[in-house]
Symmetry: C2
Subunit: 424 residues, 2 copies
């Protein structure tokens, strides 16, 4: 190990220990205290706007020099509106019900023991994200709401912006008399620190949540020695069943693909029953093309849709995150389900059907985090689910699946009350 | 890689793929089919008693030759009673409520979307255990009940016995017309196979559950590239508060330590308030010593308890699993909580107190999977909790904590029903 690497290791261990100690204090804080911290952090964000924008300018200027794309520069950029939106986000998280202390189940045993399963914080959560600086506020707030200490590691491009936001979050903790060590940020751009967080801090970090693109998620899954709540890409499907209503088919496909193309719940592939492809597709594709979408289809689609280009095998496994859609004609519902099982990513799929029995069969058979009937895949979102905010959409099967909000950042314990019972 | 290692890799991949395919079939099986398989497997165990005992003799004879201790030989040994108990276990798991398809939560959104969170199987579960052959039946049954395919890897000492039991489980699957590949067993004693299961089969195995001693758990946690539901040792505490009822204190301590010393919920350390140590301890220790327990205590304990030897620092972190107990006098409830935080394993702790406010403070402040008031730590058991059966007691914080029964072997998905809604 180089001298720098070993120094980073020491710094990370110190930071992890501080987070662990703060998490023990947080676990006994009450919701009023945590919500006060969130509202005070919102106020600090508003009153520090100038300072945050200054820091953001430094990041933006460095990013421009390094040749960052305009789409990425837009993600990195902060302005008055985005800072206000972060602050309002913190206030809405403060207003959510307390996820800690919920009695998840309760029962009595024949021997008189009363058993409760009670929600408790997870402990210390590591969050690794990319260049959107607002994630700093969102992620820290969800962790705080659920009584967890957090170690944040944002993209190196947003280093200055994230640290300016961190100061506001910590100012909120101070106002509420909570140990500021409850919100930590990795103090270096050096990627060695991420490796250390993932692999050498198992006793100091309870779970890591990666939020970002394929490469980030893959690195985390390969290196992590701590539990991971991850999400892979969203290769989301809309399946048009033979019984689909034509208007719903058109409106849902258009929304699922084009409302926002860059989110993980955006549809990437349409499957359509052979029996109705000739009827439904022209109208659906007109709407897509009018909205600026490129169509790639199988041989049949290319025949009936003018301007459609031929899809390759690769198209079925591609998350375009762009105004491109792939369309495949399938021979009935089981073929659709098989296509999704073979090419999907287990994120979100929707069936458009008037036949309720067919829809229920699809909902039951498709093994994805979210399955919908007659609704847009773009509803795959914690806010749209009524969870208030989310850290991401989990596609793993362990712990949390689907939108990860404050409730999903809790564990539980069993509280057993007796009157001297012993086990026979 | 040696030729053998690469052959094991190929065999394990084939086995994983077969399990994955079977899990997709299982996911659409109904409870009647799965319960029939469990009852049929019970019948097969009973009718194959002779064959199982023959296989067990082979294991026992090899184990004796290798110098296995009599305690371990007892764990390995099967007889009529133990086979009957396995069969009855399968029947009681069949009688449990269906953990799959439970609606865990349901709500409507203002836009009319109906959202359900529905329990689904985890998928493919790897179970790594030691020499008790009955775990083969228990673990396979819990996985089957919850709609999961399973890859079993028992201790190499029980190789023949486990395979004989496997045949009965698979006979049950056949009777119920379920793909026999849903229950797999690693076909070699070679430990390379375990490494392969833990690290190279991430796309084929959804979660690994290690069930066994410290070394096994440590190996799994070090090598696993798949999610793990593990349990560490159970260094369980009973804390005698100043308000403890003397009879409850004596009876609970005696039961918590001596009912069975070899289970993870057995108490290893007693903490007692300084104010009442002189009153409570002589009676408690008399009962323990009468039952054959050795007492190790701090300086104060050694003064008041004749025959007690001096505990060392190591005693506070030792899971004796034997008729030995360590006793420490503490200066009030916070000192007790601090001792548990410093030396405990997050498994199970009990407070004996008549003061309800003190008890509630303890239950809230102690961060263990199970916390009890006025009850024995030996209740830390899925059966005693009314879960029917368990695969172990999880001390991790992610996914499941405490007893892991059939319900804990499920994930969930969101089912969203709409009428053409699109996201604004």
């Amino acid at each position: 190990m180089t001298k720098e690497a070993s120094e980073i290791g020491l710094a990370m261990t110190a930071l992890g220990r501080a987070a662990r100690a703060a998490s023990a204090e947080l676990a006994t804080s009450d919701r009023d205290q945590r919500d006060l911290a969130l509202r005070s952090a919102a106020a600090a964000l508003r009153s520090s706007e100038e300072k945050i924008l200054e820091a953001n300018k430094v990041d933006l200027s460095a990013a421009r020099k390094s040749g960052m794309s305009s789409a990425m520069l837009d993600r990195l950029m902060l302005d008055h509106e985005r800072i206000e939106s972060m602050a309002a986000g913190l206030e809405s998280i403060a207003a959510l019900p307390d996820p800690v202390g919920r009695i998840l189940a309760e029962w009595d045993r024949p021997n008189g023991l009363n058993i409760q399963r009670v929600a408790v914080p997870l402990g210390v959560i590591g969050i690794i994200y990319e260049s959107r600086p607002n994630v700093t506020a969102d992620a820290a707030a969800l962790c705080l709401k659920s009584g967890n200490a957090v170690i944040l590691r944002g993209g190196s491009d947003s280093f200055e912006s994230s640290h300016a936001i961190l100061e506001c979050m910590r100012a909120g903790l101070e106002k509420a008399n909570i140990n500021v060590e409850a919100i930590q940020m990795v103090p270096t751009r050096d990627r060695t620190a991420v490796g250390y967080l993932l692999s050498s801090m198992a006793s100091l970090v309870d779970v890591v949540v990666p939020r970002g693109g394929k490469n980030l998620i893959k690195r985390v899954q390969d290196e992590a020695r701590v539990p991971v709540i991850g999400h892979l890409e969203g290769i989301c499907h809309v399946y048009l069943h033979a019984s689909a209503d034509a208007t719903i088919a058109r409106e849902v496909v258009l929304n699922a693909k084009m409302r926002r193309t860059g989110i993980c719940g955006a549809a990437e592939t349409i499957l359509v029953d052979a029996d109705v492809a000739g009827q439904l597709l022209p109208d659906v594709c007109d709407a897509l093309v009018d909205a600026g979408c490129e169509i790639r289809g199988d041989d049949e689609v290319v025949k009936i849709i003018p301007g459609a280009t031929k899809a390759t095998e690769e198209d079925w496994t591609t998350e375009y995150l762009d105004s491109i859609i792939s369309i495949r004609i399938v021979d009935g519902i089981d073929a659709a389900i098989q296509h999704i099982a073979a090419y999907g990513s287990g994120h979100t799929e929707s069936i458009i059907a008037s036949d309720v029995a067919a829809a229920e069969y699809f909902l039951r058979s498709v093994d994805s985090a979210i399955v919908l009937h007659n609704a847009s895949t773009q509803f795959a979102d914690g806010g749209e689910f009524g969870m208030g905010a989310e850290i991401g959409i989990a596609t793993g099967r362990v712990h949390a699946r689907g939108p990860v909000g404050a409730e999903q950042l809790t564990s539980y314990k069993y509280v057993v009350r007796g009157a001297g019972q012993v086990r026979p």
